[in-house]
Symmetry: D2
Subunit: 353 residues, 4 copies
């Protein structure tokens, strides 16, 4: 059996690549399963939500293997896996989902009722998400493989676009979900709060949904510069106190058709949302929360990428680094560089990088 | 020209029926209009939102004529009114709407851009809603009549169900909007917070939308008793601190498919909504605000009423009183009786009452 | 191993209850599966679409075991069945679906891509639908059980309403799909063509979707009489040549908001639909085809039945007969009686009947 | 009062620019109206549906002024026009709509109930569409102006893109409606039948809706060549009998996610649609008919054009000709050239052309 190694959380601001167990065909409770596959990880990205844990703002236990943005090749398939086979190159939605409960049947895989005894919704390598081992590693196990995975039909073609396709596991459908739920459509004037990778993915999503104008606000000059370079209208939040005024300077009025928050809960000390009734209430607002159900979107996003409609790698400035450099990747990302880091655990991205 | 009288706001907890001007064919800015009609008011209801003003929690100016729930007969029609004529019996949506702006064209008449210089959305007899004269009166003017009004095809049939049809101007579509936005559908398990008239209208709406079970929570024993009498499952909020537990006693688990808040901002000292990120956020919630766009719903609700599918008068315990008793009606309603008061300004409801 | 018997198709107008194989845990190609369950059949209905085969209008092979409307109790569960167990009482959607392909993930289980090598979509006991053995039998095998089946939470309660719940496997969601696709909603004026069981299920569905008025047209006096008895407005098609006129006599104009065809292809010699462009085209029509995806609807329909909102057994005149009387049931149904036949293969419906 | 001239239909294959009446503020029945405006026509296009009349396939009366694709400047406004003024540059939806009936309120302006006594739906210069005078002329009257018209906020900016914006009156929203009703979304594989202007507009619409791949089929080599030049994948229908095979050569399988018919009824001698039940029926198809409700789409399409997301003029090969050359324009268009002709009745397009 092959050896394995992965990114392990060791406490606040400390991660390290260590030797870890080779994946087993069992669920976190230790029950043997037949519906899983074991993947040789082709690419796995560092996510902003990994930082919530690494920064010590959660109860993530030390020793946990991180990583929920995974693309890989099947090297072993359980007896109940009927529609995938060894050698297939697949994208892994970050949501672990059973495909058999009420919410999965309704395409709400982000709140699967069966994969996390603690509450609805599971994920790989994440605190309170069911205990599934993370995929910033050489090898990882994916359960309910027939349901969760989508195979790329042409492996060589997919490897050529792997830096784009690796974004399908989380960041792209997360941004897309934001844009869809915000009601972005053809001709929309859109504001995205935050020019980090998720903000840029939301902006790219707004673009392909037909938005007329996509503004991206941030205070980080590098990120604003990059946002502009890849075709969005930067809003420099250091230039004024009133967002409406900054928007009016672009649009002619302090109004947009749709807005997406891609900053996240760390922007506030409290992690609370406050909304005044009265005038705000009267505006007929809609407000949505929740994790994206990746599987609802990734087939269509794959097609958009494969037909050159969605250059997400370029938009988020995808940057490949070896698995062994993961700790530096975390550090750089934390500093606010305008990059999205892809780990290359098995040295397969050579050409793509 | 006929004399007019109406319910006038005279300061905190003080309303009085006084002689008022006969309606003019002009907008609040004093500009003559041709698209309006003057109605002899057949019925006009006291609304919980009138109480916000009367209780002194708003900046409503004294001297204002109240009333935005209006049904009436056309006694005069402007030159540009093409599809209605004198003698027609019509229901008046509480939203004043122009029918010509972007939001009206998109069925969002609750945020019409043209009828209120202060902000989006207008109403009759309401603070900050554009200055349109209220309709708790003998006569009232309705602008953009062809767009706003729906005529009852058979006047005699309509007068027989007038206590139901009078609820079309606000309370029924308000409850219906709540139920629709909450996603109520066939088989839904529903919780409505508040057993006042709007809560009951939301419950009735949930029922006709196909809900399997409609629970209505309140602390007022009379209102709970009435809710039960008309077919809903009462949840007595004085019986426990935890709503989930009270619901679980009925449903078997602390969970519903859809919920509607029909209590309103007075329930909190601050008029703010607070929502914790984290667990709450992860549940994929949706949250909606805003006034109902009556015109989007009232045609279908009329048909449901006329075909005996929606006995809303009985459900909200419609109670007719003379216009001159309006002050008492406000007082009784404020005390929390399980009644919805209909004013009868022209003595036309005799039989219906 | 228990013995089995079932309804076997023996050629035009000929069916017979014969001894058949006990179900095996394998797919029609003979491959062993772990995701299936074996059911003791509690109830199984005769469907109008079974008649297409029995009347000899299809290429159904003799020897085929019929039956796709199945409710049963699990007596054996494969190793990969995780969320159901022996003893569970479950409803079986007539669509065999894998829960793992693109269409199943999108709730389009009626066109599953994996269960029928011939084309999209599978069913039990039906020609050209993948070769899955039918369930008008004592025992039957259901694959992909975790995905396909819904368990009734309270077995005793379910057995009390079994004559209603048995309609969940096909006829009720079929009628519901028709009503939903036709756009029936609160206040709709609806016309259903055909007062057979599916027409009545569509009518019942329109009712719970909030229709103001549900008309059902037919030429069979018994079926019209029954439709009237259970609360719909019968349209006797023998009374005139022009459907518009007959509708206008009820509604006042020759117009409805939504219409459902519940007659089927046998109404025409050719099995073709013809539509004139020009005026018909200009009316902005919508036209839908296809089999209902049962799993999309049955959870909500279960809740409606269990909470006494949808008395479908009474509406379709559910009539229980022993399995051994199946041949007579087919004959009676073919004659146009106003009944829906439920077979009772294991004598478990005694009390319900 | 200014003189007027316009394109007059004089019988099969015969149109001529003649002197015509200056527009009056009255409806086709001769009733004076206050809600209309008179426009100096800035641009007005020749439409494929004009050809239906000119080719003699309709009952269009001789003497009729043609033209329903109109953009113009207001030179006179009725007393009831409140939100537009003289000098405004506006786009005119081809659908004449009252903005006051049930269907207009529901955004279905293509089947307005009030503007055509013969049936639902009106248009300018078109047989059986209510008798509204056409706009291939120097001047034209538009009723219900506040409702129907959308003003371009910046006139100079609009004149710079006038060859794009002129497509808003019909062809672009017609193509967009086709793409929307066909379900085109992000990542869709799309087939458009017909590479004429409407087909190209549907293709452009599919593109901005996020389609991954847009194929356009035709037999006309010039049109195919142009379709390729502007970015679509041409399907040469002369290369094979089986469309599925031609599609499979591009996509790898004979299957698309969405299809739009942009050929029209002239493709068939009979003007009938035939659909086989059975296999076709089982595929869960959806089929839509009707004219586009322009007003539902043109605001968002304007924004897309003004922000350089939708170069529709280039895509349909917009070609400006003087009004006096209209007859030649009709002839050339009839011959199948890959052009969309814009008439310039008042010599205002000099720069744009």
């Amino acid at each position: 059996m092959a050896e394995n190694s992965g990114v392990v959380f060791l406490g606040q601001n400390k991660v390290e690549v260590q030797s870890i167990d080779f994946p087993k065909m069992q669920n976190p409770a230790g029950k043997k399963i037949n519906h899983g596959v074991i993947l040789k990880v082709v690419s796995t990205n560092i996510c902003g939500s990994d930082q919530h844990m690494v920064r010590g703002r959660t109860t993530a236990p030390t020793g946990m293997v991180l990583g929920h943005e995974i693309t890989g090749e099947i090297i072993e398939a359980g007896a109940d896996v009927e529609y995938l086979k060894v050698g297939d190159l697949v994208t892994v939605p970050f949501n672990v989902a059973c495909g058999r409960c009420r919410t999965c049947r309704e395409q709400q895989t982000g709140v699967c009722l069966n994969v996390n005894p603690g509450r609805a919704g599971g994920a790989y390598g994440y605190v309170d998400m069911g205990g599934w081992v993370g995929g910033q590693a050489k090898f990882v196990m994916v359960p309910y493989a027939d349901f969760n995975l989508i195979k790329f039909p042409d492996k060589a073609q997919a490897m050529e676009k792997i830096k784009d396709l690796t974004m399908l596991s989380d960041i792209l459908p997360t941004g897309f979900h934001g844009a869809v739920m915000a009601g972005v459509g053809v001709g929309s004037i859109v504001y995205i709060a935050g020019a980090g990778p998720v903000g840029l993915a939301a902006a790219a999503s707004a673009q392909i949904l037909g938005a007329a104008l996509v503004m991206v606000g941030d205070m980080n000059p590098d990120r604003l510069k990059h946002a502009k370079k890849v075709g969005f209208t930067p809003i420099d939040l250091t230039k004024g106190d009133n967002l409406g005024d900054l928007i009016a300077q672009v649009v002619g009025m302090p109004e947009v058709d749709a807005a997406v928050d891609a900053v996240g809960f760390e922007a506030r000390a409290q992690g609370n949302l406050k909304m005044r009734f009265g005038l705000g209430w009267a505006k007929s607002h809609r407000f949505y929360t929740g994790q994206t159900p990746v599987l609802k979107y990734n087939r269509q996003l794959i097609q958009a990428i494969l037909h050159d409609r969605l250059p997400i790698a370029k938009i988020v400035n995808a940057t490949v680094i070896p698995l062994d450099d993961a700790a530096n990747g975390y550090k750089d990302f934390d500093s606010g560089v305008a990059k999205k880091f892809i780990l290359d655990p098995n040295g397969l991205l050579g050409k793509a990088a």
